[in-house]
Symmetry: C2
């Protein structure tokens, strides 16, 4: 063998001489882990049991957390006790308590005991699900759990991997990533895979996509990431219910075709972030079908409600969709991250994401009989995230999950009634599910001041948006431990801060 050269020689110095010798390494033994993990479990259980003792919000100033910690890593190891002491001293005062039953901000991001157990097991087993062969249970339980969930949500059969077609589901980290994956697949379908090979600058098509003015910002971000550019995303106007105007969509598509553009994708939303508006899938889908556009339905938060048949009306027209995404980590009690994405035909998705270097080749992949989920998204490595979803679906059962959604909707709608009944306030969006959008009748400044008082007092946490340029308060119900009294406390607090 030839002698190593350059940088590589320097790397060889350890092997090439005898100093320094390895000292004993003492990572924690399984039994030491057992002891500490029992303490950590008690810490978490105590936290969740006693969480109402904390103000929901923090009052941290920028740099304050870092300022309490050393500037350099320790040379010698520290005890777990010392680190846990900093959990109390530094970490807990430095977080917004998302699992607090008086947290009504953004979206619930709720969790549950069953989910945590599944997540702990995923971490503890430490398997990699990049290919079927690198842990078949990781892949097959994911496919199965997403088939179960597709059925619970009443999705069209073509999204189910067992339906005999080419459909199926995959778990990704967030809706941002899920939309990116299908946007890339749609881009390649529209360019006959020319951009995949030669780049977009070699393509004659100038691709355009469509979503509503109220769509989540990640749709624009994904357009930028995948090289299509923010200006080629058309933001379609909405009707009085903040739902996408399908006629305006049809007109925009026609205008783009006339203008020499190539429309390729539409992203309707079920439950917009600001106001939980529902785009009309059937009318949008007809436009998509007419022009062979990929329809991706972003149902990140509200889509979960479809496990209850009485809320499934939003899915009318879903048979037109090429893909659909919703977030069990938002409202199904599965702790973050767990975004479910289904596609009607996985072949374009896989073709636009696949790589098969020699070091990943294996007999199962070559056989074509298995799913290799690494080809369904950007990351290669994968956690066993299906375990937490599978634990929740099994432990809570369909009826338990429906009960939870019905509880949250009932609580939110009761709160909505209190707002309606108070002449100081007005409701600003229909929001039929678990989100209430409201404001003080009066100026934006008055509402901003109200929100600032609420956040500073920290007894509840709510967030805001703007609708038609007006400042609006958002109250999102769905924390795992939320009860009727927490809604009453929230209303009392909001009224107190409105004084």
């Amino acid at each position: 063998m030839t002698q190593p050269v350059g940088a590589y020689r320097a790397c060889m110095s350890y092997a090439a001489n005898d100093s320094p010798r390895p000292t004993d390494s003492h990572p924690m033994t399984p039994d030491e882990f057992r002891q500490h993990a029992h303490s950590v479990v008690d810490y978490i259980a105590d936290y969740l049991r006693d969480i109402e003792r904390f103000p929901v919000n923090h009052s941290v100033k920028p740099g304050e957390i870092r300022g309490q910690l050393p500037s350099h890593a320790p040379e010698a190891g520290e005890s777990i006790d010392a680190i846990m002491a900093d959990m109390d001293r530094v970490v807990l005062p430095g977080i917004l308590h998302w699992q607090h039953p008086r947290f009504f901000g953004y979206f619930p991001s709720n969790s549950s005991g069953a989910s945590l157990l599944g997540d702990f097991l995923s971490s503890g087993l430490g398997v990699q699900g990049m290919s079927w062969s690198t842990s078949p249970a990781c892949t097959e339980i994911e496919t199965l759990a997403l088939d179960w969930l597709a059925e619970l949500l009443g999705l069209p059969a073509h999204f189910n991997s067992a339906s005999g077609g080419h459909g199926g589901g995959v778990i990704q980290d967030t809706a941002s990533s899920a939309t990116l994956s299908v946007m890339v697949a749609a881009r390649e379908r529209a360019t006959a895979f020319a951009s995949d090979r030669h780049g977009l600058h070699s393509c004659e098509q100038r691709l355009t996509a469509y979503t509503s003015v109220d769509a989540h910002s990640h749709v624009e971000k994904d357009m930028r990431i995948c090289g299509l550019g923010s200006s080629n995303l058309r933001l379609i106007g909405v009707d009085s219910q903040r739902a996408m105007d399908a006629q305006a969509l049809a007109a925009a598509v026609a205008a783009d075709i006339s203008g020499g553009y190539t429309p390729f994708m539409v992203v309707p939303t079920l439950g917009t972030t600001s106001t939980h508006a529902f785009d009309p899938l059937r009318a949008v889908g007809e436009v998509c079908q007419r022009h062979s556009l990929w329809m991706h339905v972003d149902a990140a938060h509200a889509g979960i409600a479809a496990i209850c048949p009485e809320f499934r009306g939003m899915h009318d027209g879903l048979e037109y969709a090429d893909s659909y995404s919703t977030n069990p980590h938002k409202w199904l009690g599965v702790n973050f991250d767990c975004t479910a994405l289904w596609v009607k035909d996985r072949r374009d998705l896989i073709r636009s994401h696949t790589t098969l270097p020699e070091y990943l080749r294996n007999a199962a992949t070559e056989s074509g009989a298995v799913i290799d989920y690494r080809d369904w998204h950007v990351p290669l490595g994968r956690r066993f995230r299906a375990l937490k979803l599978w634990f929740v679906l099994r432990h809570e059962g369909a009826e338990g999950l429906r009960a939870r959604i019905r509880r949250d909707v009932a609580l939110a709608q009761e709160f909505r009634g209190w707002v309606v009944a108070d002449p100081r306030f007005e409701i600003t969006a229909p929001a039929p599910l678990s989100l209430v959008c409201f404001r003080l009748r009066g100026s934006d400044a008055a509402n901003e001041a109200l929100l600032a008082r609420v956040q500073t007092r920290g007894r509840i946490f709510i967030t805001h948006t703007k609708v038609d340029g007006r400042f609006v308060l958002r109250m999102a119900v769905g924390q795992t431990q939320v009860q009727h009294r927490h809604l009453q406390e929230a209303w009392t607090e909001i009224c107190a801060c409105a004084m």
Copy 2:
């Protein structure tokens, strides 16, 4: 308020009538969680303690896992005991045991007790770190832990957030995602943000990137995702050590410029996947500097070794790098996922990923005094992944981590000596760290048969690659519980299978 219409009316049906009523939902209480989580901790600790009782590899046939499970989600909830019984019955026989001390495949993907504790706490607290304000500790501990790690690895000061420049680190899920992020930033720097706004098809530049023939496949995948096309990634040849040929790189860049292309990025590797080859950063960096190319260093696996000064020679020339990435989830005992990415100047990265819709606006963000990590990558939502890294850095301490790396290198190099001493075998790559690349002297078929026998017997697990078209066996050392006897057992097994 006007009446709802269309799909939205259907969503209102619950609020509009009285059936079905919500039934009681009974998610697990914190004390029920405590009880089950203690059992799960014992399950994990027993698994890790007794892991050697399992064959490393599985013998699952496609569909076999799914076939043992019901086709539909249960209507009524099941007990945790029932689900845990399926962990034993279905899951454990269906996984490759990545944490097994006789697992020598792919890369170690090692874990540790301290990491699991931090990960459990992240799951238990259930906070979202999308913005600084949504949990300041999540952001500030991440920035700090990556500053600590940058210092431990001896990275240039400009990657440290506290250096006074614009540098800093972020945790992502995988190297694939990290490279994508900086590729998008580099793409936008090269097009003066024209592609961000108007799309690549509007740009005159035809962008080209460069990596070696032995680079990880994700570099090509990322080129495709971000719209640049696989054919615009130039795969540069390697020298006898499988290191990128910097002269060939310079020639390729010059040829592309002559040909009307715009070179924009080079991705050298420290520790290639196949053979742990080290590209010469200084020579590559000089080419990058001459042509203002973004240099991203992919040090996914081997970069971790730089915590030991004696292995830091690979970093010679790192001052030329715009970004650097390594995976604590590969070899630092931080359980997956935890990819560390540092950038010299975060401004292009942020500008190419930022979105600020009204519903995410907050005073801290507006002040410009904080980091909002959602603008450093594709996903919006973020776990508190810094906790597991912080726990490992603190509990093991710099000296403990160095001892672990030195142990693994010493074990691998001793194994290498056994191969060298056996005339049946040959070493096929220099691989000075924890990876040994070797083969039976003879045909590819003989080596493929050897690997097949090893995998089927399941006593150890190794993988393969191809080098110069020849089938090569890879032995990657680094499992947390690996000891000298496991290497001896592996060598005995390989020799037995070579008979």
